[in-house]
């Protein structure tokens, strides 16, 4: 060991900063993953739903006779069967309640009416087809503005007469909440007296995270041992356990929840779905394990959608372009139940980050949540709790303001950026941004893409277009985002009352390897690889000798799960802190063995060395053994530590994205020429994995901006409920990405890391959308709602008279 140099020892750890290859890949590349639908248990049954074909209807009758007569059908559950257990409705994460099974009426197309339990999925499908539902159609409302009109259809009869909801007063039968923050009067005064005001309605359309694996579970009630085991696609297994206990009355000590391998989450797998509840009930009732796995159409049409925010903005500035105030009102379409997966006190998530990367002295945000005849959800798809909406809003408002001022928007951004010396920065809407150096990142990005040359090329292209020499327009899409992740401080962040801390428990084995368990759960982010790296650097044991486990509530310490890029900021901090506790105890062991005082030792990569006496040291491996082998006065044997970390603040990653596209004005086809993404996520744990996150998130952003949507017709029929029309790009359409970075550590995080998973979606959508807008800016375009699919781009060109 002492033959290796310092650098060799550091490299051997494969710790922080190493592009360590993933430990997960061996099983995934050989088809040996263990996903929910891979789970088979003896006597297992299969359950699936009869779903509503209408968006709003009374259920007059449900005839199950023919289904029950089919051999292999065990039972059919309806709301009436769940009611005695109090389970026909369940609480949502947003303080509302939602139907588990249709209780007299249905409120969105695809809503669950009955749960059929059968010997296998084929019989189950046959049985579902035999069930006859008699509906009485009711008037449908899919437009949130129409839903708030005086004569609008009543959706939530269960809330009749309730003028207060979980978040305050309700002003209309389809109103959910009004949430406000900032200085309304001050902002309106600034807007009223400003030199320049740009006003625009920015719509971020409804879409869906669509992970490749749909949602599902296997519920197994062991009546002999009185234990319920639930495997499922859960991004927050401990929360699911707590909820399952509250709903079923079974104590948490008799419930085990396991998240096995999960095929993508993206926020789709945070909440509790009727399928989980019905499977649990079915298992209790039948005494057999019950599996539920939804189809893709079920997933798209009924599980947690994303976005659907109508954001009316007013941005005030001086003639020179200095922003003086920002006003925003949001009409938020939540669907039929408010099931937003937000921290309890934040019904509009962290939307108030919408002052973005800019030093704006006064601002106001008001959000009205509204019920419509659509599926519930709203917070998902790498949104960091509505941060995607906020970033899109401000990055579009900057562009709209630039048009009003006749300015280049890159320059407009630069003169309004929060300066490095202003950090920690207190935003007008109440956030304390931890650290940032926006000017450096912006200059680096603009230089990397050759911004001035691109603008010159664009100017020539416009001239050529006007002269009839070309039918191709060129757009340069700019995006400088600041996002807020790492929820969050327990004092104001909780999920159903559970504070949003996270945890890590470490046990070092006598022969010098280790096991660490976390309260988070990877759905592809590579935690088994990266959290070992954090620990390796803290405790001087190679990452290859550290096993990371997550997802089993019987063994993992309580955590709030993985979403909103919170794993690195919160569980990563817990990991570092637990590692430091290990090291602190190891230091005492070393002091005992070397017969010196604790303070006479210093830490060097993987060992404690006596200060000034380099040949006297003890490696962590030796200290681990000693912990089991030595009787040390005042110290317990063993080498184990746990940390529950309550973060003092959120973290604020940021980035600069620039997209160049060439648009065919006649066909509406956009060709993405280049996409440059500079991310600053603070300390970079594994550069290879960061790059992968950026590629993936930017591809989601590409899809969202350029064609993907969950669309409804006037009758509430979902028009994009399958992959025929729900746009998921293939390898052919997906652009090539150039990634880059700066590194501005978070001052409050133990290793300075901020998290990165959601950044590329947050920053990516504005970049793609702004490119489309930028291409048409010279012809008078101010705002055109996404998605920018072929026909909508064609329509822009058409309305601007470019097809003459």
């Amino acid at each position: 060991m002492n033959d290796l140099s310092h650098d060799q020892r550091v490299a051997g750890l494969k710790g922080l900063g190493s592009s360590r290859k993933r430990v997960e890949d061996a099983r995934f590349t050989q088809g040996k993953g263990n996903y929910v639908d891979d789970i088979k248990m003896p006597d297992m049954l299969f359950g699936d739903f009869v779903r509503s074909q209408y968006a709003h209807a009374r259920i007059k009758s449900v005839n199950t006779a023919a289904a029950l007569a089919l051999p292999g059908v065990i039972a059919v559950l309806q709301a009436a069967d769940l009611a005695p257990l109090g389970l026909h409705w369940m609480p949502t994460l947003a303080g509302d309640k939602q139907m588990v099974l249709a209780d007299g009426k249905v409120l969105f197309q695809g809503q669950e009416i009955a749960f059929v339990i059968a010997e296998d999925r084929y019989i189950c499908a046959d049985a579902i087809e035999l069930i006859e539902v008699e509906y009485e159609e009711l008037p449908v409302v899919v437009d949130p503005f129409k839903a708030m009109l005086p004569g609008a259809p009543v959706l939530r009869e269960d809330l009749a007469g309730q003028t207060k909801g979980a978040h305050g007063a309700r002003i209309h039968h389809n109103h959910i909440f009004r949430w406000e923050v900032g200085d309304k009067d001050g902002t309106e005064a600034v807007v009223a007296s400003a030199d320049v005001v740009a006003e625009e309605m920015i719509y971020y359309h409804r879409t869906h995270p669509c992970p490749l694996e749909t949602c599902g579970c296997v519920a197994s009630m062991d009546k002999i041992n009185g234990k319920l085991t639930l495997w499922g696609t859960f991004q927050a297994p401990h929360v699911v356990r707590t909820v399952a206990s509250l709903l079923s009355g079974i104590p948490e000590s008799s419930i085990r929840v396991v998240s096995p391998d999960i095929g993508g989450g993206f926020g789709n797998k945070v909440g509790v779905y009727p399928g989980y509840v019905c499977s649990i009930v079915a298992s209790i009732v039948t005494g057999r394990p019950v599996k539920w796995v939804e189809d893709r159409m079920d997933n798209l049409m009924t599980t947690a959608f994303a976005r659907d925010y109508w954001m009316q903005g007013k941005i005030a500035a001086t003639k020179e372009g200095k922003i003086t105030g920002l006003w925003c009102h949001v009409t938020a379409d939540h669907g039929a139940f408010d099931a937003c997966a937000d921290p309890t006190k934040f019904p509009a998530g962290f939307f108030s980050i919408c002052t973005g990367s800019y030093d704006i002295p006064v601002a106001y945000v008001g959000v009205d949540g509204v019920y419509t005849n659509k599926a519930p959800g709203g917070v998902s798809y790498r949104c960091s709790f509505r941060v995607t909406e906020a970033a899109y809003f401000i990055e579009r408002m900057i562009e709209v303001l630039a048009i009003k001022l006749g300015m280049d928007s890159a320059e407009l951004r630069r003169i309004n950026f929060i300066r490095k010396d202003q950090f920690p920065y207190h935003s007008a809407l109440g956030w304390e941004y931890d650290s940032g150096d926006y000017h450096t990142a912006w200059d680096k990005a603009l230089a990397a893409v050759g911004y001035d040359a691109l603008r010159a090329e664009q100017t020539q292209r416009v001239a050529d277009f006007k002269a009839g020499k070309t039918r191709s327009l060129m757009g340069i899409g700019l995006s400088f985002f600041t996002e807020i992740v790492g929820a969050g401080p327990v004092k104001n962040c909780d999920i159903l009352g559970m504070g949003m801390f996270d945890s890590c428990e470490i046990r070092i084995h006598p022969t010098g390897s280790a096991l660490a368990r976390l309260g988070t759960i990877s759905q592809g982010q590579g935690h088994a690889t990266t959290f070992a790296q954090i620990l390796a650097t803290e405790i001087g044991i190679s990452a290859d000798l550290i096993t990371i486990e997550e997802g089993d509530t019987d063994t993992a310490p309580y955590g709030l799960g993985t979403y909103g890029s919170r794993s690195t900021p919160v569980a990563g901090a817990a990991t570092a802190m637990a590692g430091r506790k290990i090291r602190a105890k190891a230091q005492m062991i070393a002091a005992y063995l070397l017969e010196v005082h604790d303070n006479d030792l210093e830490w060097d990569v993987d060992r404690f060395v006596v200060k000034g006496v380099p040949e006297r040291f003890k490696t962590m491996k030796e200290l681990a053994y000693a912990a089991y082998n030595q009787a040390i006065p005042g110290l317990e044997p063993g080498l184990e530590a746990v940390s529950y970390y309550d973060p003092p603040n959120m973290t604020y990653p940021f980035g600069a994205y620039i997209c160049v596209m060439d648009i065919d004005a006649d066909t509406g086809v956009a060709d993405i020429r280049s996409f440059y993404a500079l991310d600053d996520c603070g300390t970079r744990i594994n550069p290879m994995i960061i790059e992968g996150q950026v590629h993936g998130g930017a591809t989601e952003a590409f899809a969202i901006a350029m064609g993907q949507e969950i669309a409804y017709d006037e009758m509430g029929n979902c028009m994009t409920g399958s992959l025929m029309d729900f746009f998921l790009p293939t390898s052919w359409e997906t652009p090539h990405y150039t990634t880059d970075h700066t590194e501005t550590p978070s001052p409050h995080h133990p290793i300075g890391a901020k998290g990165v998973g959601e950044s590329p979606n947050v920053g990516g959508v504005p970049a793609f959308s702004n490119a489309v807008h930028d291409a048409f800016r010279p012809f008078g375009l101010k705002q055109s709602h996404m998605p920018h699919d072929h026909w909508r781009i064609w329509r822009i060109a058409n309305q601007l008279g470019l097809h003459g």
Binding site: R22, E213, G264, I689, S731
Partner: protein, 168 residues
Amino acid sequence: MSKMHLKLRVNGKSVETLCEPRELLIHVLRERLNLTGAHIGCETSHCGACTVDMNGMSVKSCTVFAAQSQGAEVTTIEGLAGPDGMSVLQQAFREHHGLQCGYCTPGMITRAHRLLLENPLPTEEEVRFGMAGNLCRCTGYQNIVKAILHASVEMNAARKPQVTEAAE
């Protein structure tokens, strides 16, 4: 609803099972033969997570009835490992971070395996076109393409030059 006696070869072994003619091949593989590597990601034949190699072709096994596969020669991801563990292609996916959640990966690798048999040294464009039947939500494809290109180079470097007797 009488069952049929299905006999086929999977990963080089003869297998047989009783199943309904309407059962989808993906279900036969996953539920009856316990080969859970290939996955289901949709029901409209778009995503390709179910891709297997059947009779020398890349096929979406969710769009094949068990009855149609009578007598077929099928290779799944479980049959694609190298002699000493991971194949060159599987190693390349790991080396170049061509996967994250792993759900699309068996379909991707099974399709890439056939792609490289069709075209041993493809260009990037040919790889993107040839892999367009397999959707991924995590990686943005860039590292998948990189993995396949690297694997193709390595596999061709390992190929010994043909001796004359092969030309007869």
